[in-house]
């Protein structure tokens, strides 16, 4: 029920439309009961000689000009039939479109909410998240809810309305025949309900077998080189055949069960119709009902059999919607980042001060310890140290992707954690180690942060990042699509794309988190040269293991196990015993070592 409340919340703004849709079903189902009554009255009292028992029908007949007149002009009844059908058609149309409007709008709202929520979940969440499971929730679970609203609920409501109306009319016509008419119905309903509950296992087995077959196929296709190099074609054919056969057999078992269901429920339904005809004939013989009423009953019973049969199935399906709602709620319950907390957007020049900063991902396991340093606007600071020493974590604190636990970080004298996240991130350009590119054109990927940027700026950024020529070598140049449907870029090209899309924003602070690792040394040098020649110089953070990359920095910090173990400039550090000098020496002693192999 908690989930039901959730659903109502999503439907906010469309509840009225949905309600109108429900009312339309009610009216259209009411109208379905009319046609058999027209038939029965016509047979009994217009063509036949019986008097009309219902005063309402009598007054309608009088309104149309009386029994005799209609008898002469039977087309009047034909017209009424068509009129009722048109009226009912209008409400059917309304029902479908209104329900669809409400359902689709609700679905859109859920989709948009999920999308926005996911992108605003903290950085930490995305480091750990499982893409497949999240996507599953966003697509198939949302679709389950859509189907519930657009189809299932409407259908079940329609069936119930119809059942109620028809039962009422049948009861007013003849109680005995009504009882016979609904003799088999409960059996039909429970049969289909129980059947579809039981057959769930078969559906699952078939789905699982299909998944196994698909996995085998996928592994074969992605591993095609291994298959061919090891000459395992025959083995693979047999392996796939086993899965293929398994899927075939399990699905066939399911279909066989389904055919049993359809046969039995057809049997039950037709037996129900037979009971009405035979017992109805008996009642007419007894004089308890007229021919018209018998005809009306046979029409009615044909109308309600299908919905009753279908309802068992729909009801077993409907339960899924609530499970899906719960699963979606799990995502929405995850707390998100607030990008604009206090609307604090100070001007940022790029003077940065770290003072006794501590940081830990997990309690009691500090990743950064007592980090203190100062850097002025426009200067370059470089970090060097072993993998896992905390360099990356340190630079992730600046755009507030993580929050420091102790100490203080000041930007132009203002405490970092009082500045809005959105604002600080706009002013800190972070080039990630493993950049993600969107399935957009190269140009769009470079001006990602601001799609309205001029082409000339895009080109300039690409030139600085040494990717301009690579791009021009593609057939479509800057309009080339990236990703599965376009070109696949090499690791180095991706890194340079990421540099271009970051520096294009001219942020006062730029961070290169080992983002030149897949670029060769020469390109590395030319990128750094181009960056230096830029007009507006940014405060630059560089993480690298290349001495040549870090050597020109104004300040070099050597980090190990979360602590600064050495600090200085290149010149001071090579005159000091320690890690930096050891790395540097490799370069100098190189010639001897190479020859002595």
């Amino acid at each position: 029920m908690k989930n039901f409340k959730k659903l109502l919340e999503f439907m906010e703004g469309y509840k009225l439309i949905y309600l109108l849709g429900m009312i339309s079903i009610l009216i259209s189902q009411m109208l379905t009961t009319v046609t058999p009554l027209i038939l029965s009255t016509t047979v009994d009292s217009i063509i036949g000689e019986k008097s009309i028992s219902s005063p309402i029908i009598q007054s309608i007949v009088n309104l149309l000009g009386g029994k005799e007149l209609i008898k002469e002009r039977l087309w009047i009844i034909g017209l009424i039939l068509v009129f009722v059908a048109v009226l009912r058609g209008i409400f059917l149309y309304l029902k479908n479109t209104l329900a669809s409007k409400a359902a689709e709008n609700t679905t859109k709202k859920i989709r948009d909410r999920l999308y926005d929520h996911i992108q605003r979940l903290p950085y930490e969440f995305h480091v750990k998240s499982e893409t497949g499971e999240l996507i599953q929730k966003c697509t198939s679970d949302v679709d389950t809810i859509r189907r519930f609203l657009a189809i299932q609920l409407v259908e079940v409501a329609g069936s119930i309305f119809m059942l109620v109306f028809i039962l009422y009319v049948m009861l007013t016509l003849n109680i005995k025949l009504t009882l016979v008419s609904i003799l088999v119905l409960p059996i039909t309903f429970f049969f289909s309900f129980i059947f579809f509950t039981k057959v769930k296992k078969n559906f699952e087995a078939s789905d699982e077998a299909e998944a196994r077959m698909t996995t085998t196929l996928q592994e074969n296709l992605t591993g095609v080189r291994v298959v061919k190099a090891f000459s395992r074609q025959e083995f693979e054919v047999n392996k796939f055949d086993e899965k293929n056969l398994d899927y075939k057999n399990l699905t066939y078992k399911l279909i066989k069960n389904l055919s049993l269901y359809w046969a039995l429920s057809d049997f039950l339904s037709m037996v129900q119709v037979g009971c009405v005809i035979i017992f109805g004939s008996y009642l007419t013989y007894k004089g308890e009902i007229s021919l018209g009423i018998l005809i009306a009953f046979t029409s009615y019973i044909n109308m309600i059999i299908w919905p009753v049969r279908q309802m068992g199935r729909t009801l077993t399906d409907m339960g899924k919607a609530f499970v899906s709602l719960g699963r979606i709620d799990e995502i929405l319950k995850e707390p998100i980042e607030v990008l604009e907390e206090n609307h604090h957007e100070p001007k940022i020049d790029g003077n940065i001060e770290f003072k006794n900063v501590y940081f830990e991902y997990e309690k009691g396991k500090p990743v950064l310890k007592d980090i203190t340093f100062n850097i002025k606007a426009g200067q370059t600071i470089a970090f060097i140290g072993p993998t896992g020493s905390g360099k990356s974590s340190l630079v992730h604190l600046l755009p507030r992707l993580y929050e420091y636990n102790q100490g203080s970080i000041k930007i132009d004298g203002i405490e970092l954690n009082t500045i809005d996240k959105a604002w600080i991130r706009k002013n800190v350009g972070l080039v990630l180690q493993e950049p993600f590119l969107y399935a957009k054109t190269i140009k769009e990927n470079i001006r990602l942060a601001n799609p309205s940027m001029k082409d000339s700026r895009v080109f300039d950024a690409a030139k600085i990042a040494s990717i301009h020529e690579d791009i021009n070598s593609f057939e479509l140049g800057y309009e080339t699509l990236v990703g599965e449907r376009g070109v696949s870029l090499s690791g180095g090209q991706k890194q340079r794309m990421a540099i271009a899309r970051t520096i294009i924003n001219n942020s006062p602070i730029v961070i290169f988190d080992d983002s030149l690792s897949a670029v060769d040394t020469e390109t590395d040098i030319s990128i750094r040269k181009a960056l230096k020649e830029r007009q507006n110089k940014a405060t630059t953070f560089i993480i690298s293991h290349r001495i040549s990359t870090v050597s020109e920095a104004d300040l070099i910090l050597v980090i190990d196990k979360g602590k600064i173990i050495q600090r200085g400039t290149h010149n001071s550090l090579i005159n000091e015993e320690g890690l930096y000098k050891r790395v540097y020496n490799i370069q100098n002693s190189l010639d001897d070592e190479v020859i002595n192999l």
């Binding site: 859109k108 057809d266 037979g274 013989y285 021919l291 993600f436 192999l597």
Partner: protein, 606 residues
């Protein structure tokens, strides 16, 4: 994409003719099914006649004489109906699954026979959708649609016959609405299907957008792109909403129109039939039967319209599936080779000569179909047991040399000799059965560690597997896992680390004790300890085998018997490490740069 869409508009005979070739094995099943559906159509048309009988004989004559017999006949009809339904659904289902199974099997076998060059320009997803959803749709449409068609037509014919026999004039009047219903149905069913297809297309865009939402979240944060992202996404969901509502509107217009047309039929039957009843020209029962039939007629027409619309969609699937099945492999063993040595799926290994391992590239040139030339007049002689390291930039042609050696590609001109035999005179798998191959990014299959190692040699005993693992120092980490060799590696080996996957792929290659070896070294760095183990493994594995190494690690390069520096498809420098260093040329530069990188990393990760 555009081209595929055009094909939806018409039913193309050519496509289906091609398909009938594949339908032959199921001829008998189709015949039985068609008969069943005709029976079902007739049975469906009988029930109104039974009711008519009851009205005319019991109600009108005011008697219940014979009601017992009637009940029995009615029950018999119901049982016959239920039986036919059971048989037809299970038979059609059997046919569907059998067909899907057979086509998939054919498709998979074809995929195994196609050479690597076929896979070069095709995404895995593209091939997957042919093998899964296209085949499913094809077999589903064929088995169910065709039988439904038989049912629809037979029922319409049976109903028409019944009506004409009851009263020809009334039949003609009542049936006058049928052409209208048919036209409306065909028009709308096509529109409905098109609309649904549009919805599905956007749906895949939504999935792709969520994928970017999740995987690109870090980028989004660093570039503060949340608002632009959401706007772009809302454009997609808005269009999804509008198209879905539009699709509903189209089908919501269709149903009322058809129901109204049906009611016109009922009205015609009632007003004209009513008159005839008053004139005693027909009985009440006949009137009732006519009214029932007018409501029954609409379903088969709708079905037929749906089927025609679906057939058009299935046609696109059919085309895609056949293009796979009819694909001719670029590398084929000649008939006399197959006769003597067997083919890929049925090798006659007993006739194969053993491989010693001398290799010669003689005037080998290779260019892609696009005309791009990669190698020109390439010559190289390798002694048995020699290790050749290939060094050069991406795109220099090193991988092509290896691909040609493995016969994944064949030379455009010139020949490649193994032990003096042109390898085209031998079956493709001759070389592969003697080859150990380790990929840059190791690919494992779902299953246990043991299964994966044994992939290299299906006859390997447990001892062989353990021995191979020990040789490459994989045994220790395997034994440290809870289940040891029985540990499941997960899809694509996902439960193991990259280094572990590499070690297992070494064990897999070595367990077959191959004469030839190809190693495409990984560039990605792994932890130092595993790195050392892997370097040891490489040295052991290459020892005494003729091998090609696309090398990145200095130790591997240095240990090679010969180093080939490849640039633009040519050998730029050749010799052993010392010789090349002395030259102070391209190799020297490459080596020293690499040396600094590796050493620095070494020192940093101490």
């Amino acid at each position: 994409m555009e081209k595929e869409n055009l094909n939806y508009d018409k039913i193309q005979i050519g496509v289906w003719k091609n398909f009938f070739k594949y339908l032959k094995p199921y001829k008998k099943q189709f015949a039985i099914l068609t008969l069943m559906m005709i029976a079902l159509g007739i049975l469906d048309s009988i029930f109104p006649l039974l009711t008519k009988y009851a009205i005319d004989n019991f109600v009108e004559k005011n008697t219940i004489a014979g009601i017992k017999t009637f009940s029995i006949v009615y029950l018999a009809a119901v049982i016959a109906l239920a039986l036919t339904v059971y048989l037809f659904i299970s038979k059609a289902g059997e046919l569907e699954m059998q067909m899907a199974y057979d086509i998939r099997k054919m498709g998979f076998e074809k995929l195994q026979l196609l050479p690597l060059s076929y896979y070069d320009d095709k995404a895995v997803g593209w091939l997957m959708s042919r093998m899964t959803s296209d085949i499913s749709r094809l077999s589903e449409t064929i088995s169910w649609s065709l039988v439904d068609l038989a049912w629809g037509f037979s029922m319409m014919i049976a109903v028409t016959i019944a009506m004409v026999r009851l009263n020809a004039k009334l039949a003609l009047i009542t049936l006058s609405v049928v052409p209208l219903i048919a036209i409306v149905s065909f028009y709308f069913q096509k529109k409905i299907l098109q609309a649904q297809r549009g919805v599905r297309k956007i749906n895949s865009k939504i999935t792709a957008a969520y994928n970017e939402d999740i995987q690109g979240a870090k980028t989004t944060k660093t570039l503060v792109r949340e608002e632009i992202n959401l706007e772009e996404f809302q454009d997609i969901t808005t269009s999804m909403r509008d198209k879905s509502i539009n699709a509903t509107i189209i089908s919501s217009i269709y149903l009322p129109i058809v129901l109204t047309l049906g009611s016109v039929g009922t009205a015609l039957a009632l007003s004209n039939g009513g008159k005839s009843v008053m004139l005693n020209a027909i009985s009440y029962g006949t009137l009732f039967a006519f009214i029932s039939y007018t409501t029954q007629f609409f379903e088969p027409i709708r079905q037929i319209a749906v089927i025609f619309a679906e057939l058009q969609a299935a046609q696109a699937s059919a085309e895609r599936v056949f293009s796979l099945l009819n694909e001719v492999p670029e590398i084929i063993d000649r008939d006399e080779v197959v006769e003597k040595y067997g083919d890929l799926l049925n090798p006659k290994k007993e006739n194969w000569p053993d491989i010693k391992g001398s290799i010669e590239f003689r005037n080998v040139s290779f260019s892609y179909k696009t005309g791009e030339t990669i190698l020109e007049n390439f010559n190289l002689k390798i002694q048995p047991g020699e290790t050749i390291a290939l060094v050069g930039e991406t795109g220099s042609g090193k991988s092509t040399i290896v691909n040609l050696f493995c016969r994944f590609y064949e030379p455009t001109s010139g020949e490649i000799l193994i032990d003096g035999i042109n390898y085209k005179d031998m079956p493709q798998n001759w070389i592969h059965e003697n080859l150990g191959y380790v990929l840059q990014s190791p690919h494992l299959f779902s299953g246990t560690i043991k299964d994966n190692i044994r992939y290299g040699n299906l006859n390997a005993t447990d001892e062989d597997v353990i021995q191979a693992s020990k040789l490459v120092d994989a045994h220790d980490f395997i034994m440290e896992t809870e289940k040891g060799y029985e540990m499941e590696v997960g899809e694509g080996g996902g439960l193991l680390s990259t280094g572990q996957k590499q070690l297992i792929s070494f064990a897999r290659a070595i367990v077959r004790n191959p004469r030839l070896f190809v190693l495409d070294e990984a560039t990605s760095s792994i932890d130092t300890e595993t790195e050392k183990i892997i370097q040891d493994a490489i040295n052991k594995v290459l020892d005494g085998r003729t091998s090609f190494v696309i090398a990145h690690r200095l130790s591997t390069i240095r240990n090679a018997d010969r180093i080939l520096v490849i640039r633009d498809g040519k050998i730029e420098e050749m010799g052993n490490h010392k010789e090349l260093i002395k030259k102070k040329g391209y190799y020297y530069n490459l080596y020293t740069n690499q040396f600094i990188e590796e050493k620095s990393l070494d020192v940093l990760s101490q």
